[in-house]
């Protein structure tokens, strides 16, 4: 750990380090050095202020780390993002694609979904409760499609994805117009 980082760590001890410096420090590869230095300075501070604890000299951090590493699944490794922000754009696009598939096949080929068929292709998002999904997605399943229909669907999805990526969403809007026109609105 170079002098500058150690000075940043010292400033952190005093609540005087800026966010960028803290980020730089925490991204330093040798975090063991950072932690050891931090620990010694904390011990000196405790000594200066006469803080003594039964755990003096014991590295609780190591035990905590081991405990948490053994149960990473419960760790808040990713921030809890606000639901609307996290789902808003992807779901709007996904819903449009699904709607396109339902209407496209329903109107274009006379296809209707039937439950219980083998080889079903089900719209699936395991991390999201069903109640949080739009109704059309909650119930949607593409079953019993023949080869030609599957090919047509893949082609459609590809084209739609291309339009969306190139037009930054205008592909979806364009399709919505088509749907509106077909449904007579």
């Amino acid at each position: 750990m170079d002098e500058r980082l150690r000075e940043t760590l010292s400033a952190m001890m005093d609540d005087e380090a800026d966010e960028l410096s803290v980020r730089r420090l925490l991204s330093h590869q040798e975090q063991t050095d950072v932690r050891d230095q931090w620990q010694r300075w904390q011990q000196i501070r405790d000594l200066m202020h006469d803080h003594h604890g039964p755990g003096d000299g014991v590295d609780v951090a190591a035990a905590v780390r081991e405990n948490l590493d053994g149960r990473d699944q419960t760790a808040p490794a990713t921030p809890a993002a606000p639901p609307l922000k996290a789902w808003g754009w992807p779901w709007s696009v996904a819903a449009m694609v699904m709607l396109a598939m339902v209407v496209g096949f329903g109107a274009g080929t006379g296809w209707e979904s039937s439950e219980g068929a083998d080889g079903q292709l089900v719209a699936h998002q395991p991390d999201v409760p069903a109640s949080a999904l739009p109704v059309s997605m909650e119930e949607l399943s593409l079953q019993g499609l023949d080869e030609e229909q599957l090919k047509q669907m893949r082609q459609f999805m590809l084209e739609h994805a291309q339009h969306s990526s190139v037009g930054a969403g205008r592909g979806s809007v364009g399709y919505a117009r088509v749907v509106s026109a077909n449904s007579g609105y």
């Binding site: 604890g53 755990g55 003096d56 951090a61």
Partner: protein, 205 residues
Amino acid sequence: MTPENERKSAEQTDSQTDLQLVRKVRSGDRAAFDLLVVKYQSRVASIISRYVYDNQEVMDLTQETFVKAFRAIDRFRGDSAFYTWLYRIAVNTAKNFLEARNRRPQGSADASDAENFDDGGRLRDLASPERLLQREQLQKALSTAIAGLPEELRSAFLLREYDGLSYEDIARILECPIGTVRSRIFRARDAVDRQLGPLLNHSAT
């Protein structure tokens, strides 16, 4: 300045660093949580030792407190200082531990006492003679190290540690740039660490 004020000065002004570290923990940075644990492990153990007298149990509960804190960190809203929030978890962890064993709390420490908590008295009673001797040696070494600092480093360091002044205030008092204050405090810390380091590595504070 009274000892109580001295204690409070260095503790109550450091919430910004804690918040920075909490933000990093929330974004998945485990190293940031390590720093919080290292910073507060001694004080959390002290809080718990007000309820539980067995050292091994104190250490287990201290560990449990931090594990709980880590898992609940998304629920820390920043309404209070991180230390106050952690203090509440420690107190509840200790109380739950005693209740689970049908034992009445042996001590008391309300969450509202977090900022004023004085851990020195009872813990000194718990310390072994050997440990007390080690601490005495450390205190002497610390005094010697501080006394041996150049005046400009010592002034800045003590104004920060004992009076809890911000770098800006210290800069005004010492009539020098803030960057100089920052550098002097760092160099003072570094010098003290170099003298005490070997002792700290082999004994407890």
